[in-house]
């Protein structure tokens, strides 16, 4: 994962002489460092880079040294007004915490699991696994980058096309038909129910208080139509549910409402 935008650390030599100071006329693009910092995919990546540069095992992590280096980078990024992701600061805080803990006398009884250093090492190791494998996946042959698919254009498939034959009159007729078609998808407003089930319950109770049995059809008012039937039926079901009346259906289709008495 060599990065071309990054320059070598060693002093360059010119005709055998080390060149220790940057020539005044050397042009350094102002965004050079910003660019290189963008190559880190996050604070873990930066931290791993610093560890790798030290050539040490993650397990032998010298937090104190790494923290200093890490914070130097953060300062530099800050000085360059590089928009820092908050996660970089979180990591800096974590490192500072570990460093400060190390300065305090060791508590022998301190539990391993609470140790932020070993927690950080575990996270770094876990991250390292995926970072490594992602680099391997990145160089796997990829379609349209490393290899290409073979295809052939399809032969002309003949589809029989018939011209539409239509007269002007037919077109007018169709237009009228479409225009007059009932609009099945239009919205409609739902009005308050004109017939209230509650009201109908009262009416049925009143009827039943006068006579014991009444046929369902006699409770209907013709003018109310289908809606009336539904409301009356709902009302009688409601009453039957509450035990005020009994619904009886004999062999005929007619339903009878029979009072169960004891209606106050």
């Amino acid at each position: 994962m060599q990065n071309n935008t990054q320059t070598q650390l060693e002093f360059p030599t010119v005709m055998g002489q080390p060149y220790e100071t940057i020539p005044d006329d050397l042009f350094i693009p102002p965004n050079a460092l910003e660019l290189c910092l963008e190559t880190f995919s996050g604070p873990m990546d930066l931290l791993l880079y610093l560890i790798k540069k030290e050539n040490i095992n993650i397990l032998d992590l010298d937090v104190s040294k790494i923290t200093d280096q890490y914070i130097e980078y953060i300062d530099l990024m800050d000085a360059l007004q590089f928009e820092l992701a908050a996660e970089y600061l979180v990591m800096a805080a974590t490192l500072a915490e570990i460093k400060s803990r190390m300065m305090l006398p060791q508590d022998v009884h301190e539990e391993e699991e609470d140790d932020p250093k070993s927690a950080l090492i575990k996270r770094l190791q876990e991250y390292q696994r995926y970072k490594t494998v992602s680099e391997k996946i990145a160089i796997l042959p990829r379609v349209d980058r490393d290899f290409f698919l073979a295809s052939a254009s399809l032969p002309k498939i003949e589809v029989e096309k018939k011209d539409i034959q239509i007269t002007k009159d037919e077109l007018v007729a169709i237009f009228h038909e479409v225009k007059n078609r009932p609009d099945l998808k239009s919205n409609h407003q739902i009005d308050f129910e004109e017939l209230s089930t509650q009201e109908r319950i009262q009416i049925i109770l009143e009827i039943l208080s006068k006579r014991n049995v009444i046929s369902f059809s006699k409770t209907l008012r013709k003018t109310e139509g289908r809606q009336g039937v539904v409301v009356t039926f709902l009302a009688s079901l409601e009453l039957a549910k509450d035990g005020h009346l009994e619904l009886i259906q004999n062999e005929t289709e007619e339903i009878f409402l029979k009072s169960k008495g004891a209606i106050s």
Binding site: N3, L9, L33, P43, N57, R123, Y130, A150
Partner: protein, 185 residues
């Protein structure tokens, strides 16, 4: 029949499974055993030995590819190169591939940075990942898994063909890939 199979592979514009080839042949009035179709594919392979083509089996079936050795020649056909995939995005897709199904939070835990909606979207748009469910946790976060297309695009048949995930204890210094970067001063 072998030529019909070849024609189907050339014309389909997508990988074909042997069973798909069989039903396509059936529409054409040819009944063939799966083994016979496999035989055809093998014969095509032999036929192409001396050509720029190859029959390749990937996760979604079989397809015809141009041998990789011709890629440099082909690359001049287009002005634009295939878009680069950032390091961060490769890390994200790798975590999804090895730990699937995962939530965005799971990825963030490992990477130590927030994973942008944009990067998840770009993987979804590429058809490399899909939402495979929702985790039974507060907020019901989406669970992501890789798709067959992801394997197809990397010329792989199955997930186990991906490089092996290194052991967590693997020594970091082992890889001698040294980045160089201007030192903080």
């Amino acid at each position: 029949m072998i030529n019909t199979v070849e024609a189907l592979l050339f014309g389909s514009g997508r990988p074909l499974r042997i069973s798909e080839i069989r039903s396509l042949l059936e529409f054409d009035g040819v009944t063939a055993e799966l083994s016979e179709i496999k035989q055809c594919l093998n014969e095509l392979e032999t036929r192409y030995i001396d050509s720029s083509l190859e029959v390749v089996e990937i996760a979604s079936g079989y397809r015809l590819q141009i041998r990789q050795e011709f890629s440099p020649a082909l690359s001049h056909l287009w002005n634009e190169r295939a878009p680069r995939i950032s390091k961060a995005l490769m890390e994200t897709i790798s975590i999804i591939a090895y730990k699937q199904p995962v939530t965005r939070g799971d990825i963030e835990d490992i990477r130590g940075v927030s994973v942008s909606t944009q990067s998840i979207r770009s993987l979804l748009e590429r058809n490399w990942i899909k939402v495979s469910g929702f985790k039974d946790a507060p907020g019901r976060p989406a669970l992501y898994s890789t798709t067959k297309e992801f394997l197809d695009d990397l010329n792989l048949k199955r997930l186990s063909d991906l490089p092996e995930l290194p052991d967590p204890a693997d020594n970091i210094v082992q890889d001698d890939d040294h980045q160089t970067i201007p030192q903080a001063v």
